[in-house]
């Protein structure tokens, strides 16, 4: 769907832009629509109600409210437009240059922007009035300068990010000039946020402008919405209705602009379908396995039968796991291999009951140490997590809470789950760190996650998984994010812990080398299904399923090295 189509189908965008168009048209056509001059006063008619030719009645000086409203709109909107143009003209180019080239200009512009942002706008405007005089257009230029940092910061931030994108590097290597890179790759990214920001800032500028007029900053008789509100406020006791029209005009205009901004955000950034209500997802019925125990006897530690996992609802639902059978016996290491998107991580998450937002188990049975966990109430499930099943994630860094020390993250589950005292929990945590081969446990215990290396963080996560003595470990690509030398150490650690504690392990990985290193049995997944299960030796050496064969053949371990380079034949030198 194109942007225009999305805009036309978004009711909020259509309604707010229609309202704005109406207001702007009425203001532009003021001389036609209002038959009286905004300054023409009929003294006897002060505070008089509506009458033919004067649809909204008269103000305190006997002037026509309708005419003042339309003409005032011109001044109010015009003022905001000046501010907006100034802000755009200052903020966007400086943001582009600062974000793209950085260096001294960036430092300077950034400082200037922080300087301006630290100034309270209203007070500066009042001071400017003292200095520059009560000319509204001039004050609107000042207002434009004051709101320019909002554009500068927006553009600079986005451009600096785009600047670091690989596709910009690729364009430079392709021989494109900076101008062309900015025009092609950078502007296309900042366009939408700028449009959104324009609507937002326009709303704010109109509000501030009206505020100034309300304070009586403007130059006397020219009608504006703010000045009309001020006048109405002075006569609040006599006729509160006078506040209604300028208030409504101002409120509707600002609200329409901000609503348009938020609708444009949805339209331009194409957020896709709204997130389904997670509560609704939890109420969905789970079907029992359709193949009652055809896959043989069920293992005592973990047994999965006919597991299906779906994302989304109704017709748009996507099944990512379809009928998986899997068993892990006590003390057994089972590998779950497959390519990205094969559903192996989703299977692991279903066992732990921690599927991401929108995902749910739709069919099947999962027995963990004899307990059926599909449909198990959250509270009882929680009792299994940590104590019976534990989880080692893939990305070591993103799986530690950056706000807490490593130690407090280890101590917390021990205290909550085992009810230990702080002292006992600390002792235990230090002991766990020692068990995962950390040589200086006290230092690591007191560190924050950003102060330790990735390999160290993965050891900490393994220690955390061990903290409540689980029987079953679900390890989701536990070494994928690590360098090979660190990977070898972590694999050794997992092997040792598994042997010492007699752990059952479900090891999700795409690396057949890791499977060969650690696993007793292996299940191969393709497109949400298990296509082959068997002993590691058999699956890796004598695969039965064609897909497994493709996987095994793609391994480069035994390929012969490329033969030495030979000089290309030299062309004969023409005589």
């Amino acid at each position: 769907m194109s942007t225009a189509q999305r805009f036309l189908r978004n009711p909020q965008a259509m309604a707010s832009s229609a309202l704005l168009a109406l207001i702007v048209a009425a203001v532009l056509l003021a001389p036609v629509l209002a038959s009286h001059l905004p300054g023409a006063a009929e003294l006897g008619k002060a505070f008089a109600g509506p009458e033919p030719g004067h649809p909204l009645g008269f103000d305190s000086a006997g002037r026509d409210v309708w005419s003042r409203l339309l003409h005032g709109g011109g001044n109010s909107l015009g003022g905001a437009l000046i501010a907006l143009v100034v802000a755009l003209g200052l903020g966007v180019p400086s943001g582009l240059v600062a974000g793209y080239y950085g260096k001294w200009f960036d430092s300077l512009a950034n400082w200037a922007s922080n300087f301006v942002m630290a100034l309270p706008a209203m007070i500066v405007l009042l001071a400017s009035r003292a200095i520059l005089g009560p000319t509204v257009p001039v004050l609107m230029v000042v207002l434009g300068v004051l709101v320019a940092p909002s554009f500068f910061r927006l553009v600079r931030g986005i451009v600096a990010n785009v600047r670091r994108e690989l596709y910009v590097d690729a364009a430079r290597v392709s021989g494109l000039r900076d101008r062309r890179i900015i025009a092609r790759h950078v502007l296309i990214v900042v366009r939408a946020p700028i449009i959104i920001q324009v609507a937002l800032v326009a709303g704010i500028a109109i509000g501030l402008q009206a505020g100034l007029e309300f304070l009586g900053i403007g130059s006397g008789d020219a009608p504006t919405w703010g000045a009309m509100l001020n006048e109405a406020f002075q006569n609040l006791q006599r006729n509160p209705l006078l506040m209604l029209w300028p208030g409504l005009a101002l409120g509707l205009t600002s609200a329409a602009l901000v609503l348009l901004a938020s609708a444009l955000r949805d339209v331009l950034e194409d957020r896709g379908a709204p997130v389904p209500n997670p509560r609704a997802a939890r109420r969905v019925r789970v079907d029992p396995p359709t193949t009652p125990d055809t896959a043989g006897e069920r293992a005592s530690l973990l047994s999965v039968r006919d597991l299906a996992v779906s994302y989304g609802h109704g017709a748009t639902a996507v099944e990512v796991v379809r009928g998986v059978d899997l068993d892990v016996a006590e003390g057994e290491v089972v590998g779950l291999v497959g390519q990205s998107g094969s559903g192996k991580s989703q299977t692991a998450f279903s066992v732990l009951g921690i599927l991401p937002e929108g995902g749910r188990v739709t069919r099947g049975s999962v027995l963990v140490a004899g307990t059926e966990v599909v449909g198990l109430p959250e509270k009882e499930y929680r009792a299994l997590r940590g104590g019976v099943i534990a989880y080692v994630p893939q990305e070591p860094m993103s799986n530690l809470d950056p706000a807490f020390t490593v130690g407090s993250q280890l101590v917390e589950p021990i205290r909550v789950r085992l009810g230990s005292s702080r002292k006992a929990a600390t002792e235990r945590a230090l002991d766990l760190l020692r068990q995962v081969d950390i040589t200086d446990p006290r230092r690591v215990f007191d560190s924050h996650p950003h102060e330790i290396s990735g390999g160290m963080a993965q050891r900490v996560l393994i220690a955390g998984a061990m903290s409540c003595d689980p029987h079953l470990l679900i390890a989701d690509e536990p070494t994928t994010a690590l360098d090979v030398t660190v990977q070898a150490e972590v694999l050794d650690l997992l092997r040792r812990l598994q042997a010492e504690r007699g752990l059952g392990v479900l090891l999700v990985t795409h690396n057949l080398g890791v499977v060969a290193d650690l696993c007793d049995r292996v299940a191969v997944m393709e497109a949400g299904r298990v296509v082959e299960t068997g002993d590691v030796e058999q699956v890796l050496k004598r695969p039965r399923h064609p897909y497994t064969r493709t996987l095994v053949e793609a391994v480069l371990d035994d390929v012969p090295a490329r033969p030495a380079w030979v000089a290309p034949r030299i062309a004969e030198v023409p005589a």
């Binding site: 021989g175 360098d483 060969a516 890796l540």
Partner: protein, 287 residues
């Protein structure tokens, strides 16, 4: 003329990096600069693939970026086709782009998500002054060469899989017939089977066009498959260089040996042997 130039062994190198140093500003105010490369040297001959193997933070990617002019060089020389380019900027760099290209690791980040594939491929052509019908024909030619359907040009990158996107990135690098392509981990973000097909595509293109590759990777087995020669980099130093067969199967430097033993192999018995050898090495190292 070309014959006499190429028969001279010194000028037969298409890329010659000598004692390259790169440093980055330190974190925090007035922090000293951090050296990433402490004088590395390597060279590539026409039509040759040289592998550069190292772990994260070793500086391997920085070498590639320095050659491409994407990071400032603080010392040493980079000679490309007999021309010193370590401080080349602006116009000279743009002229170089004819001969020197890149394929990045991340096929998702290296293509602008909001620009159709065909326009991305036409970019380097436009930069060289080719336009209109010629450019369009060349784009469909390129897509054909990397085995993508002809209608791919009108589609956006998000409609392609990781492997297909990497083919697009390769097509872009090939657009103006370069003599050297820097491949920065081009297959490490791909699945095993896709990895193999992309490597085979790179081999095939090299046989057809005689392009040379600087192939940066963390994976010794990938490098063994694709490269003629290999250099191993560790903490900004090149610790070992040699023929691919020797470095990736019988390395001499202890670090390379450890690297080789650490990578698990997909054969339980062989991996057991690997593991035992690695343990023995660790005991020897600590003793």
């Amino acid at each position: 003329m070309s014959g006499s130039a190429l028969s001279d062994p010194a000028s037969a190198r298409i890329l010659d990096v000598r004692d390259l140093r790169v440093s980055f500003p330190g974190k925090g105010w007035r922090a000293p600069r951090v050296d990433v490369l402490h004088g590395v040297s390597l060279d590539i001959r026409p039509g040759e693939t040289v592998g550069l193997v190292g772990e994260s933070g070793s500086g391997k990617t920085t070498i590639g970026r320095a050659v491409l002019g994407l990071v400032p060089v603080s010392g040493g020389t980079v000679e490309f086709r007999g021309e010193r380019i370590e401080h080349a900027t602006g116009r000279r760099r743009r002229l170089l782009s004819r001969h020197l290209q890149v394929v990045f690791q991340d096929p998702y980040a290296s293509l602008n998500p909001s620009i159709p594939v065909g326009e991305t491929l036409a970019e380097p052509l436009h930069a060289q002054g080719m336009t209109g019908h010629d450019a369009r024909r060349k784009v469909s030619d390129l897509l054909d060469r990397v085995k993508l359907p002809g209608d791919a040009a009108q589609r956006l990158p998000r409609e392609f899989s990781g492997g297909q996107r990497q083919r697009i990135a390769i097509a872009r690098a090939l657009a103006i017939g370069p003599e050297l392509i820097v491949c920065d981990e081009p297959v490490s973000a791909l699945d095993l089977t896709t990895q193999r097909t992309v490597l085979d595509l790179l081999l095939e293109i090299q046989q057809q066009t005689g392009v040379a590759y600087l192939f940066i990777s963390h994976d010794l087995s990938v490098v063994r498959y694709l490269c003629h020669r290999v250099s191993v980099i560790h903490r900004g130093h090149i610790v070992e260089s040699g023929e691919a067969g020797q470095v990736t199967t019988a390395p001499r430097h202890p670090y390379t040996q450890r690297l080789l033993l650490s990578a698990p192999v997909a054969d339980p018995a062989a991996q057991r042997a690997h593991r035992i050898a690695l343990h023995r090495r660790r005991i020897e190292e600590t003793a």
